[in-house]
Amino acid sequence: MNVRAQMSMLFHLDKCIGCHTCSVACKNLWTDRKGTEYMWWNNVETRPGTGYPVGWEDQSHYQGGWVYDGRGELKLRLHSKAQGLTRLFFNPALPDLEDYYEPFTFRYGDLFSAPAGDDQPTAIPISMITGEPMNIESGPNWDDDLGGSNIYAKNDPNSQDLPDSVRAQLEEIEGVVFNYLPRICNHCLNPSCVAACPTGAIYKRGEDGVVLVNENKCKAWRMCISACPYKKVYYNWSTGKSEKCILCFPRLETGQAPACAHSCVGRIRYMGVLLYDADRIPDAAMVPDEALVESQLDVILDPFDPEVIAAAKKNGISDDWIKAAQNSPVYKFVKVWRLALPLHPEFRTMAMMFYIPPLSPVMGVMENNTLNLAVDARGPEFELFADLSKARLPVKYLANLFSAGNEKIIEDVLRKMLAVRIFKRAETVDGAFTDEAKSALSEVGLDPETAEEIYRLTTLPTLEDRFVIPPYHREASIEAWKDPLEHKGLTGVGYIQPPVRGE
């Protein structure tokens, strides 16, 4: 057993309101520099939709992630080592700037300097790259709230294998449904960006599993960009280096949650430590698609198990990290309650950011000018969420997003969430633990105490409940080598050594 620690984030999609505060917080903190204008280390997508960059999930185009050949070998989809050598100077699978979007701003100066006239002066859009006036034709959330359904929602790679009738219903105006999907780098256990880098500039750091680009080593081959199936490594055209989400490690090291999580208005994000067994990763990544979620959750270890604790200590994980893993909200949602799933496990990178899939109300159909809801008359009174088979967001669609097409896993999760909802409604509306609530809970194997706990951590968590960040003891590791006062104020602010093109 090779126990290691991973800082993991969890997104409760039921609570996301799509306000993009996380994206803006991240932008202001990290990518407000020359060369990073088009980057959104954190972005929020509307689903169904094609996301940012456009169609990133379509690996037939972008060639990201791993492919399992079924005979005990995992291969990069992008290229083998030999192919990589022949394509070193021309990587055909890179996203175009158009696939991201041409970053723009507005010429606000015109508002003040325009000559007097009969009409109001306007600030025309200009490109942040060329500085020339431009027509804005796309953006990082261009299909926000289904703004681009005809192109984007229709071409969502996750809805391509839905029955035609369901797809037609999704596009009907009364059936239109969407939810939000915030995305950051997944800090995978089996990162394909690391595997694809010809210079070995990317690494997964030991203490908390954050995947980082060493900008002093990066030679701008850009293989990481196409190899990452989530398209979360970006190329800075000004410094000629790759950049990516760093999970705000300077904030983590000083005991704060990452900026995106900290600023989240809906409080949908949770941070915590997960302990995992690194020896089990290869086996877990090489199972059939349907079993991927289960095998990945098996890699995550129980921090209360004395054997795990002993092995963790042997690997240099300190007591306070083990304690943080025991209190981790992510561990509870992912492992104990089995409510959270990784995004696109079929990419086989073993993403370590987890999502609780959203519930959606049942489908409504227009009949005789009235909206007829497909409510189950036998279920709890007017329960809009009761019938999963009639949910507006098809279970198959969610399964394509979070469980590699395995609908059973999604159904279990949604049913559990529904049971907690029915349980709490019975308590607050009926004032009692009704028979309906009892049967709903027992159907999914929850007891009232657990249901109460899920409810509390979902709706009423404090800052300390949501973000359980272990002490990094950075001061101790610095003191061992350098005078800490010499480095005061240097961590994470600007460059200690600015990146130079070609170095």
């Binding site: 094609t50 960059p53 456009v54 169609g55 972008y62 175009d96 158009e98 696939d99 984007y152 071409n155």
Partner: protein, 261 residues
């Protein structure tokens, strides 16, 4: 520092010039014979003769030409010339005077043309001359190969350089004076290039033999258009090879979505 050094050098040269103030005949041999011939016979149609030329009977006129050079149409004994003679600022006043007197007097002081070059004149080897011309064999003193600036017949399909004139018919123009011209060129650019790296007698003879041999080959103009044509052909082949792959690569995912819509 550099400036000072060149001044010093100029001063030294001047002193050297004074110290070795030469006779008119020697001056003539060093400065004029390359073009106008050892005995002032000139080259018909190219370089006017100095012997029996009524224009040069006035020493003042000759001195003026030596100092300032001369170019443009000129008629001597019924023959028309249209060339250019460079000025010779490196000659001191005393030297110019001596030279002008010598020439105006009908090269009278002239001793019999040196017998040495005539006697030692070996026969040139055209094969070696070609190798020297093309730079396949280096000049002993390190001078640039002729092909860098000139072309001539039978130098190959793509021709030689186009900076200097075409030397295809140079042998007819200079005749037997050709080796001398090659060895001690009177032309402004060549004189500078070969001042420190002169050709040996044998090399000059070889190159002259090669040039005299003539042979067939494309003129400068044909060689240029041939080179252009080959370049264009190569470009076409590359472009055609690239063409089948090019359009597919350029389509972005967004363009694909819009097209499929």
């Amino acid at each position: 520092m550099r400036m000072q050094r060149s001044w010093l050098l100029a001063l030294l040269l001047m002193l050297l010039g004074l110290a070795t103030a030469q006779s008119g005949a020697a001056l003539y041999g060093n400065n004029c014979a390359a073009c106008h011939g050892a005995s002032g016979e000139g080259v018909p149609g190219v370089f006017p003769p100095l012997k029996g030329n009524p224009n040069v009977e006035d020493p003042a006129y000759v001195a003026k030409v030596i100092r300032e050079g001369k170019s443009g149409p000129l008629e001597v004994n019924g023959q028309t010339y249209n060339g250019a003679m460079p000025p010779f600022p490196q000659l001191s006043d005393a030297e110019v005077e001596a030279l002008a007197r010598y020439i105006a007097a009908g090269l009278s002081e002239a001793p019999a043309p040196k017998p040495a070059p005539k006697a030692a004149k070996p026969k040139g080897d055209p094969v070696r001359g070609r190798a020297l011309f093309l730079g396949e064999q280096r000049f002993q003193n390190g001078g640039s190969p002729c092909v860098a600036c000139h072309t001539a017949k039978s130098v190959g399909a793509l021709g030689g350089g186009a900076l200097g004139p075409d030397l295809s018919d140079v042998a007819q123009r200079f005749g037997s004076a050709l080796p001398g011209v090659i060895k001690q060129p009177g032309f402004k650019v060549m004189r500078v290039i070969y001042r420190d790296k002169p050709l040996t007698d044998q090399e000059a003879q070889d190159v002259a033999a090669f040039l005299a041999e003539g042979g067939s080959g494309p003129s400068v103009a044909t060689a240029g258009s041939r080179l252009l044509g080959l370049g264009f052909l190569g470009f076409l082949v590359l472009f055609l090879g690239m063409f089948p792959f090019w359009p597919r690569q350029r389509e972005t995912y967004l363009q694909r979505l819009r097209r499929r819509k």
